[in-house]
């Protein structure tokens, strides 16, 4: 196997581009935990950037899905998200309730409209 082998490349990605850049922050946090002020300005900014980035990941998965999900019409994917958010807020702010509502719409929509 060589570095250009896509399977070996996937394993290397997990360790070098996944494990290292993730656990460096976990370990750093342990070292700084005693001195860290959770409400410091820098951390407010950092958390906002992380939240926006994660929201971007979510939006990309919904708007521009890779693989088979792309065959489900966009309006069904958006309706599923809307149902999930509505289910969450209407049913005691339950993530599980929202997920179930969204799943009913996406699975039902995929059966009848794709």
């Amino acid at each position: 196997m060589s570095l250009s082998d896509p399977m070996l490349y996937a394993y290397l990605l997990v360790i070098l581009a996944g494990f290292l850049p993730t656990d460096v922050f976990r370990f750093a946090a342990v070292l700084f935990a005693r001195r860290l002020d959770e409400d410091s300005e820098v951390l407010i900014l950092v958390r906002a950037v992380a939240t926006a980035l994660l929201a971007g990941v979510i939006a990309r998965l919904v708007l521009f899905p890779t693989g088979d999900l792309a065959g489900v019409p966009l309006w069904i994917r958006l309706a599923s998200i809307a149902a999930g958010v509505a289910g969450y807020f209407l049913i005691r702010k339950s993530v599980l309730a929202g997920v179930i509502a969204a799943e009913i719409v996406i699975v039902g929509g995929a059966i009848y409209f794709r």
Partner: protein, 251 residues
């Protein structure tokens, strides 16, 4: 989840110290009872389906669940792999998304560390992810200090190894399920993350960052390029922070 699960983890008052393994198992039991765990495992079933969709090897995906243990970062790796993004760009995006572990770990470690040494704390920090964090904040303050680290390790190990199993299950289910159900499994990841971001949004900055991040995605998709997620994070998050700061200054 709005209602706390009855975990049976609350100890009777004034009992002598029980062995650590008792508390490890109580942590595992709390995980089994947790609705958060169900959503987490569902998300990893979706992840397993997604990797099969994009042709990411199962072994590397299992390795990512064990060693990265952060579904958003894992999605960035798989998405970057599928899109052919350069590895340094993927590493940078993963690093930016994992910066959030800094405040998460730093806020929970003083609560759970008890008298444990630095090595144990570093080891335990790897198991901190959003799910274990949410459940620990809810359950651990009621426990005696000596019991917290073993309880946390039981809870978070159950979450991690359960997610390894469900990653594999999701991968194989994606090949055998009817197409519509497979679509539903892949869709579990974005919807469960969106709802957990909504639940975790406590102030204006959180809400603005979430909404701007969602809204900027189709805008940056027009320009394309492998760096668009970083721009979404920097501009969306930066703007959310700036607006929040201005409103605070005015108040």
């Amino acid at each position: 989840m709005s209602e706390p699960a009855n975990t049976g983890a609350t100890p009777p008052a004034a009992t002598p110290e029980e062995p650590a393994r008792v508390w490890v198992w109580r942590g595992v039991r709390a995980g089994v009872m947790s609705v958060q765990g169900v959503v987490l495992f569902a998300g990893f079933i979706g992840f397993g389906g997604l990797i099969r969709d994009v042709g990411f090897p199962l072994g590397a995906a299992v390795l990512s669940t064990i060693f990265v243990w952060a579904l958003p970062a894992q999605l960035l790796i798989v998405g970057g792999f599928a899109a052919g993004s350069p590895a340094p760009v993927i590493a940078l995006a993963v690093g930016l998304s994992s910066v959030r572990f800094f405040p998460i770990v730093a806020s929970i470690m003083p609560m759970i560390r008890g008298k444990s040494g630095l090595g144990t704390q570093l080891y335990a920090s790897h198991f901190v992810a959003v799910s274990a964090w949410v459940e620990s904040i809810r359950l651990i303050p009621a426990l005696p200090v000596y019991a917290r680290m073993p309880f946390f390790l039981g809870l978070s190990n159950y979450f991690l190894w359960g997610s390894v199993v469900t990653t594999v299950i999701g991968y194989f289910l994606a090949g055998t399920l009817p197409q519509a159900l497979a679509n539903g499994l892949v869709f579990l990841t974005p919807i469960s993350f969106l709802l957990q971001l909504i639940r975790n949004s406590r102030d204006l900055v959180d809400w603005l960052a979430l909404i701007l991040g969602l809204a900027l995605t189709p805008v940056f998709a027009q320009f394309g390029g492998s760096l668009d997620l970083l721009w979404i994070g920097a501009i969306g998050g930066g703007a959310a922070y700036a607006i929040g700061r201005r409103l605070r200054a005015r108040a």
